[in-house]
Symmetry: C2
Subunit: 350 residues, 2 copies
Amino acid sequence: MDNNKGYHVAVVGATGAVGEQMLKMLEERQFPLQSLKVLASARSAGKTVQFRGQEIVIEEATPEAFEGVQIALFSAGGSVSKALAPEAAKRGAICIDNTSAFRMDPNTPLVVPEVNPEAMAEHNGIIANPNCSTIQMVAALNPLREKYGIERIIVSTYQAVSGAGAKAIQELHDQTEAIIRGNEVKKEVLPVGSLPKKHQIAFNAIPQIDVFLENGFTNEEMKMVRETKKIFSDETIAVAATCVRIPVVKGHSESVYVELKNEYDLAEVRSLLENAPGIVVQDNPEEQEYPMAIDAADKIETFVGRLRRDLDNPKGLHMWIVSDNLLKGAAWNAVQIAEELVKRNLIKES
Amino acid sequence: MDNNKGYHVAVVGATGAVGEQMLKMLEERQFPLQSLKVLASARSAGKTVQFRGQEIVIEEATPEAFEGVQIALFSAGGSVSKALAPEAAKRGAICIDNTSAFRMDPNTPLVVPEVNPEAMAEHNGIIANPNCSTIQMVAALNPLREKYGIERIIVSTYQAVSGAGAKAIQELHDQTEAIIRGNEVKKEVLPVGSLPKKHQIAFNAIPQIDVFLENGFTNEEMKMVRETKKIFSDETIAVAATCVRIPVVKGHSESVYVELKNEYDLAEVRSLLENAPGIVVQDNPEEQEYPMAIDAADKIETFVGRLRRDLDNPKGLHMWIVSDNLLKGAAWNAVQIAEELVKRNLIKES
């Protein structure tokens, strides 16, 4: 794993659903690596992962493990990031953190490279990756915001179980198989691992992702509200979200109503989206073409369709936004930030 | 099947997913019957169905079959209703039609008994049952409309496959089993039986229900728009819908944003809904209680939860509405109309 022109990179939490995809993205994007450290909890240390045809031994994630690391991709839970990202930053690494630990910290940039890459320059050793459901929405709305301005957003999500990790994927599979075979359904993971009550996700829709807050919204819904304002650097945009888990493995879908500040031309909206980086327009009602979770799975783009004018408000637009929550919603956005850091010469010499 | 105090009733389309539930509702509600005719296409004539422990032979649905019938419940497709409901009405029956054939006909009342029962009196032999996704929404919104007035509604639906009939239920089952077993997935029914292209519903979300119209909305979405205005007798209410099929067998869920005409008190909203007929409030975030499709299945009520204030508009309210699409969304609303006809003495002597 030597490369004269590459960087010293670490992936923290490489055994999780997102960590796996981070390794896959580094591989597929041929990210220039001089060395790759794969870090995880003491429990996973000593196991191996495959990378570019080689076996890499997982090391325990300790502060010292970050010596010499230039880029550290974190996806091992908020408490790990809180404990170790500052340690890694202290040792000169730029941390790209996929957890919510630093997202709303005013000193931490929250970045979607297509939307606010300039925010990266302000980093203090940590750059936060937004929540999956936020990333795909702001990526699709940004071209419209730049052209017309955004007054308000009302979004209802249709989120895949993989957003809750590998255990939730297994739970959907096991519950589905139990129902098909007429066996008893076990409920152990969803909707929120840390809360006492569990609900069946197979053949159901659960209107709860993450814990409830005092205002009646869930934390997932408030992440979409707060993160959207921060990424767009605009506290005046009104955002409301309803986040719902459905029995899909990969790919979040979003029904979005956006009220623009100015009247728009629908053909121009389509053209803006078609020319936007990372966006693919799939919008051909006559051919029954629109974005769907199963088609977006394993792709890095954000897919947009069902574009149509509101029937009453000439500044209102409805759209359907789908993307792979583990890729653009997590691993790809993180690796994309790393690519952008390289492009912008923001990485320190080792 | 003799009952001195009962009515002569016919069920048309008794072998379909909704027709079956109509028979079940007549049975469970102990609807006063003097006779029950079970009608279907020539293909099904001669087969039998079970009703109150007896076998009833299915007869072919012809104009003459309605002689002596006082109440005819139709759920055999729009073309059957168009051909036969006028024939039944001519012979003195009141038709309660679950298809979309007469819903927007200005001479046909479109009725949800909790909302606009008075409209029934204006019937000309036919009363239309609204679309499933409309019924549960207007049932839940009506108490708020009466108290505060409604300015606009934005709804995103999470609809069960049973809304597309028994074949769609079978397709979800077969596709799911194929995926679990690693077999090939066959796509034959969804999203729209009459259209050429089919999409996988298992582990997916399909943002198309019914055909697309020129304005980019689907017919299902426009049903929600037009029917809501007609049932509320108010063309000024702004309504926009995004209708989505998800892998659920029974029970439509709806994420609804409603902008009221006046400011409201959230405790009062809750109390209005708790006291509204046919509505059950399930809204206890601390206990992770909210309506879910699997809980609403096989129940006649409409369940409401996730009640919360919009973060920006003091007249805005978010809610989550769930009901069994085959019951309140179809068979129960139809039988409920029949009960209301009896209560209001609107049925002719035989």
